[in-house]
Symmetry: C2
Subunit: 226 residues, 2 copies
């Protein structure tokens, strides 16, 4: 199936694919920064964010030009409007990866995470890395089944995120307040990357099938963290 079916949309689709790839790269490098204290990876994420922002601006410009040049039909329009929102979503995922990288750079040469928290954050990172692969694949293959998998998997990330709070509230917790602040913020950033991936996946399902899965009853994609 093809998300971008309109020949005139080819250049925009390419930029959107590039954004997804850059975001995947940022997520993976942010994970290296966080879990391997790789400060060069952190810097690469921080420096690379400008390119994601530029790609978003390029996607917006091209979509606006496309809308101006053509009298769009219903399905074309749905794709253009969804493309605008996908670009905004990817831009935000890049920002969140940058926040993780900044936190790692700030704590360097230490880790911002206490030793006890490394395992659950590694699991969250593995999950986000796989999700980022799925986001790239669902776009480049125009595959709603992969998008559907991203949507259905999100509960797993929420469960891991919940474990970071359990850890911080357990009697065994002996981290500093700075570490607790970092655990809460890093967990939030990672959870939000997952939320945005779900939002992107819903948009791909909508483009491919015309069915909007966000209107299905289901858990709030950005539910309460309390």
């Amino acid at each position: 199936m093809r998300v971008i079916f309109n020949e005139e949309m080819k250049a925009v689709a390419d930029d959107l694919d590039r954004m997804a790839q850059d975001v995947r790269n940022a997520i993976n490098l942010a994970g290296d920064a966080l879990l391997r204290r790789d400060v060069e990876a952190a810097q690469a994420v921080i420096d690379g964010d400008a390119r994601i922002d530029e790609l978003e601006a390029s996607v917006i410009d091209q979509c606006v030009r496309l809308l101006a040049k053509q009298t769009p039909v219903a399905t074309d329009l749905r794709v253009v409007v969804s493309t605008l929102r996908l670009a905004a979503t990817f831009e935000r995922m890049g920002d969140l990866a940058k926040h993780i990288a900044e936190s790692a750079r700030c704590a360097y040469p230490e880790s911002p995470l206490p030793a006890d928290a490394v395992e659950v954050f590694s699991q969250m990172q593995d999950f986000l890395s796989e999700t980022a692969d799925n986001v790239v694949a669902m776009l480049s293959d125009r595959d709603a089944r992969i998008a559907d998998r991203v949507i259905r998997n999100d509960d797993k990330l929420d469960a891991m995120h919940h474990r970071t709070f359990e850890l911080a509230l357990s009697d065994d917790w002996d981290g500093t307040n700075q570490q607790l602040i970092d655990v809460v913020l890093l967990g939030r950033f990672m959870e939000r990357i997952g939320d945005h991936a779900v939002s992107a996946a819903r948009r791909v399902v909508f483009i491919v099938s015309g069915f909007d899965p966000s209107k299905e009853p289901g858990p709030d994609e950005d539910g309460s963290v309390e």
Copy 2:
């Protein structure tokens, strides 16, 4: 000055104004929930979020229909595309107010905040309340000067947000880990509401003047919190 200059955009502009008013209401009620332990206010924010979501869906539908019906000229297009993004921004501000209300409801009949943190959160709430007034006014009066004020004021919120971390890291801090988690998350939610207000203000300046202030060199609107 008129943000929405096109007669056909009148209904969309009305919905957008309604969104801004609902978001202002949600922000004020979330503040009552948080600072006055008003659990009915919390419930009102949580229940009211669906209407904000519906208004967003209505704005999107109307914008897509508008794009389909008309061959849009450059400025009309800029308004329609910016309107789509403003609606997404307001929807997100509503979500964040809901998160604050959920946190307050969860802690009820206690406050999620330790006594020492009430003052700085009250200041942040006053700031957001004034910002919400400005957001409503900049839209309904189509006034780029008010929008500009929202953009320029954001540093103040960042400074207050920074104080929440100083508080949590000071020797005087004697809150529980649950309180520290709440302080970090509530501070983050409030900071993000401010960021979204800035983003909305930039869009209003862009619509009114054609000048995009986000391309000006300046502090990252969602800068690192570390």
